[in-house]
């Protein structure tokens, strides 16, 4: 039974990590290529969840909702880039943070104005409901396995896109020398809009998939955004590989910490004290890990350009 529980918790950690990866990949891509800190990334995640819930409620199909979430988040990302972020490339990070923070407020209150203050309903599709048996006696929920699958597919897709295609070549070139590729006649404006929309679509996808597990409500993006920042700081800002490793690390450390620390402390301090202390420590564990990693690798595990 204990091994089954451990396997289940490791899968939980991976699933959480995959979700963080979808958020962190877009964030790190946007920072790596354009040098913009986009605080409104969490709002794009929220938009994806709301679009999926609204379309799924209207049509009865989760899959149409998923398509809608990708389209809505990508469109919102492109509009944000064209209207706001485009004006911020030459400004310093403080201006970018200020402007994208304002976007969070606008998106949040706009969504509340459209959909109301009460959380929306979104359930997992019937095909993916239920659990399956795994070796070792563990049972695991099919939908969460599907999330892990989607995350791995996105990771492979991004790898191929960036290393094998012309668009990817331009993205890499943009990361190393912006002025030079503009001078070589690449339409850098369009490239920026495309990258921004791509990052936004990934956030929207994460929002829709997670919305079916959690609650679809205003403000759901900000807690995830903080964790996504932790992930890209650990992984090295601008690196997709770093985002993948960082996300898996944060997901596993957080989940296993929540599971194991209270038990460990209960051995020394007794059940009641132990669970309280363990739970308190578990909630800061990922930040401790981040601090440790930064102490030895100040630029993260896979800093871009190294």
């Amino acid at each position: 039974m204990q091994t089954a529980l451990l396997i289940e918790q490791i899968l939980n950690g991976l699933q959480f990590g995959v979700m963080l990866f979808l958020m962190a990949a877009g964030l790190t891509l946007i920072f790596g290529v354009m040098g913009v800190i986009n605080l409104a990334h969490g709002s794009l995640y929220m938009l994806g969840a709301f679009a999926c819930a609204a379309v799924a409620a209207a049509t009865g199909s989760f899959w149409l909702g998923l398509v809608a979430s990708l389209a809505t988040a990508a469109a919102a990302g492109a509009i944000v880039e064209l209207l706001v972020v485009r004006r911020l490339y030459d400004r310093d990070h403080l201006d970018q943070v200020l402007a994208t923070f304002a976007l969070i407020l606008i998106f949040s209150e706009g969504t509340r104005w459209l959909f109301g203050s009460f959380p929306l309903y979104l359930d997992i599709p019937p095909v993916l409901s239920g659990a399956i048996d795994l070796p070792g006696g563990a049972r695991y929920q099919l939908y969460r396995l599907a999330i892990i699958g989607v995350g791995i597919a996105v990771a492979i897709g991004l790898y191929l896109l960036i290393s094998k295609t012309r668009l990817g070549m331009r993205i890499r070139a943009g990361q190393s020398d912006r002025e030079m590729i503009a001078a070589l006649g690449v339409d850098i404006q369009t490239l920026y809009t495309v990258v921004f929309a791509l990052g936004a679509a990934l956030a929207g996808l994460a929002g829709a998939m997670v919305g079916a597990l959690q609650s679809v409500q205003v403000g759901m993006g900000e807690p995830v955004l903080i964790l996504a920042f932790v992930v890209i700081v650990i992984g090295g800002i601008g690196s997709i590989k770093g985002a993948l490793v960082g996300a898996a690390l944060v997901g596993l450390v957080d989940t296993l910490g929540r599971f194991l620390l209270p038990k460990v402390f209960a051995l020394f301090l007794g059940p009641s004290e132990g669970t309280t202390v363990g739970a308190a420590l578990a909630s800061m564990l990922i930040y401790v890990v981040m601090a440790l990693i930064l102490a030895f690798r100040p630029r993260g595990l896979f800093a871009a350009g190294t």
Partner: protein, 379 residues
């Protein structure tokens, strides 16, 4: 011009005799109307304003402001309402941490504070105050009722779960105060956590016969959906907060059959409640939640006190509030020595009526229940 003046004077002269009783009352409502917790504040406000509208009492003026769930903002609004808008009564705060930041200060300045939701233990015991009235419940109450119900239902091995913050620890303390069985596990999660896969796996492995959760707002929605999807199937108990009208729609059918405890329910059979539910639905196009009922009762309490005493005469007004001479939608209602309610707490079950999920009363858990801190209050 002259005519207008004369008309105005005439109006004043006519107005004066009635004014001896109906002194204007200015109420300042600080509540959460934006961000993730906005649903609760919205219901309190709507319930409150509905009662004021129904009373047709033109002497009550209400100013509403949004605290965005931030203690420092609530304190600023309270200062502004007391100093520049000169309100007589403050009300509206949803969250205990905001109440702790605002209430002691406001009552120390001689204002009345009527709580339509939060009931932190610190304000019910030794630090109770004659100008602080709680019209909802003391924080522990619904959890105590749930613990008591777990005994009645024959549960012997509960797994209990709450976020790691003061109201969360109060909740589990309240449950354990009445629950007599053993615990299969006790977990404190991070406040605002939305993924409970790790906790649900532990519940599955614990061999519990029941699960008690206190997870307000989005946390409860997330937990219930994931719990139903995981197929664990151990019965869940909770306080009414996690299973009321504001969140049931978002949890969906996963909530059907869950037993929860509340001092109020849509189907409570008394005339005042029938009118309330009917008019609330007609006015706002949705079913009221327990928060709306608390806002409605708070307004009716103020109206009843304003009808017998002037708010400028603090002693008389305080006595009129304490008498609680109004018809509560939850039936019997009176204040204990610490100005917190003594009331029945019911057990409800989530049911589906047509397309709408709602609650139905299945019994009384605690009759005329008073909170555990009342004896520490020297009033």
């Amino acid at each position: 011009m002259k005519k207008v003046m004369v008309a105005g004077l005439f109006g004043l002269a006519v107005g004066v005799p009635g004014a001896a009783l109906a002194e204007p009352v200015k109420v300042g409502m600080i509540t959460t109307l934006s961000g993730g917790g906005a649903g609760l504040g919205l219901d309190v406000r709507d319930g409150f304003l509905l009662a004021i509208k129904q009373s047709d009492n033109k002497d009550i003026e209400v100013v509403v402001e949004d605290d965005a769930m931030k203690p420092e903002l609530a304190v600023q609004i309270a200062d502004k309402m007391i100093q520049s808008e000169q309100v007589d009564i403050l009300t509206g705060i949803i969250w205990s941490n905001l109440a702790m930041a605002v209430v002691p200060n406001a009552v120390a300045q001689g204002k009345f504070y009527l709580s339509p939701n939060a009931g932190p233990s610190a304000l019910a015991g030794a630090k109770c105050h004659e100008n602080y009235f709680n019209v909802a419940w003391q924080n522990d109450n619904l959890h105590e009722a749930a613990g008591n119900y777990a005994n009645t239902a024959g549960y012997k091995k509960s797994f209990i779960l709450a976020p790691n913050y003061p109201a969360g620890t109060d909740a589990l303390t309240g449950y354990k105060r009445f629950y007599k069985g053993e615990l299969a596990g006790e977990l404190y999660t991070k406040l605002g956590q939305t993924d409970y896969a790790a906790e649900i796996a532990q519940i599955r492995a614990s061999g519990a016969d029941s699960v008690y959760i206190f997870l307000p707002g989005g946390m409860g929605i997330a937990f219930m959906k994931q719990y139903a999807q995981s197929g664990v199937g151990i019965p869940v108990l909770g306080p009414g907060f996690s299973f009321d009208q504001d969140v049931l729609g978002a949890i969906g059918d996963a909530a059907i059959g869950v037993k929860n405890t509340s001092q109020w329910s849509n189907d409570l059979d008394n005339a005042a409640n029938r009118t309330f539910v009917e008019t609330f639905q007609a006015e706002y196009g949705r079913l009221p939640s327990l928060y709306a009922s608390q806002g409605y009762d708070t307004a009716n309490l103020i109206l009843s006190a304003a009808a017998t005493a002037s708010v400028k005469d603090a002693d008389a007004f305080r006595a009129a509030l304490k008498a609680a001479d109004f018809t509560s939608v939850r039936g019997d209602f009176k204040f204990g020595n610490n100005n917190h309610p003594i009331q029945d707490i019911y057990v409800r079950e989530v049911v589906k009526e047509g397309d709408v999920l709602t609650n139905k009363i299945i019994g009384v858990s605690l009759e005329d229940h008073q909170d555990a801190y009342a004896k520490e209050c020297k009033m």
